[in-house]
Amino acid sequence: MAKTGMTKTMNQYFDDLRGTRVWRSIFRSGTGSSTLKRALAIQQNVFLHLFSTKVRTRMLSLSATWYLGTLTLGTFLILIATGIPLMFYYHPSAPQAYADTKDLQFVVSSGLFLRNLHRWSAHAMVFLVFAHMFKVFYRGAYRTPREFNWVIGVILLLMTLLLSYTGYLLPWDQLAYWAITVGSNIASAVPVVGEKIHFLLLGGNAVNANALLRFYVLHCMILPLTAMFFVAIHFWRIRKDGGLYSHASEPATQRANANPGVVANAKEAQ
């Protein structure tokens, strides 16, 4: 007892900190680790309140989700964290874009690392989005009441592909040029307004300086902000739709478990 009176443990210091007026003004839930306090800590945080305050333990196991949605978010965060530093060295102009990309590869300290991390994360994100969708599809997790969140997911797939596509032009090399030539010509196949979409997308009739700038703005501003908006809705809907899909917790399954006789009679009646 005398000993604890003299020296405080790390946890005690942390508890003292969490009891201070400044801390309490920011995080209102306060000290203590009761279920209520922990739930409040989630519910009262602007970022975490999108999520459920409680999660079924079995939904945290690898087999439940393979963490594919979380991994997708992880790649998205890596892409933001690496993409912003890349913007400091990259000029989206026709004479400079290719040279800047080469500078990032060969001259800028850690430029190679950042660019490659951005590139590989982009590939991984496309893969993970598809894997996540397959997992959700084959588990049947897209069904009522989660069908709207599936729709949001399809929009996010589109955002991912558009981000991937717009980023592809930015190195301004032969691969980028012809890929965007081909891709933008696919847009011309839209009935009636195809040619107009092609013209507006490129800001001209061919892949040139206007197209580079437009794709840069789409890639760095419009599409990431739109994606973040829908990601927020996507996460919030998980909570609103009753948490992650778990077959044993579905209302139909629970009704069947509660009244096994009803199901048995129904089978006999057939």
Partner: protein
Amino acid sequence: MADEIKKNDDVNRRQFFVKLGLGSLSIAAAGTAAFAYQYLDPNVLYEPSPVVNAGKPDRYPLDSVTLDVNSGIYIIHSQEGYFSISAVCTHLGCLTAWKPELGIIACPCHGSKFEQNGKKIEGPAPKPLPWKRISLNEDGDLLVDRSTDVPPLARDSFVRV
């Protein structure tokens, strides 16, 4: 009496102002959409001129097919005269190449093949390579107008020197 008049009137003061407000917002939204569309639609383009000077005709020997990579056109000197066709594949816009050993025009992207008069042999291209208007200027240079298609094999689609 006053109640009857009010019943016949579908719109009361509050509804009128709601409609007025929503109507104004709709008009403003439509104006913003038109404004945004016009803003994003460039009025001036700093693109190369569609008219290409292909130089003196004697640069192109008889029975030759010459690709100008920068302008994306072929200058072909045939028995009938000089003519020009687009080198941009009608499938998805890749630059095609003349294969002298096979005597065909081939696209590297998705394998479309064309005859030297632009007619499609095989592949996903939906249309033949279009012929472009060709003429001679005062200096005797061949001019190709890439913005104007002309009928294939027509008499006026050739230049004879």
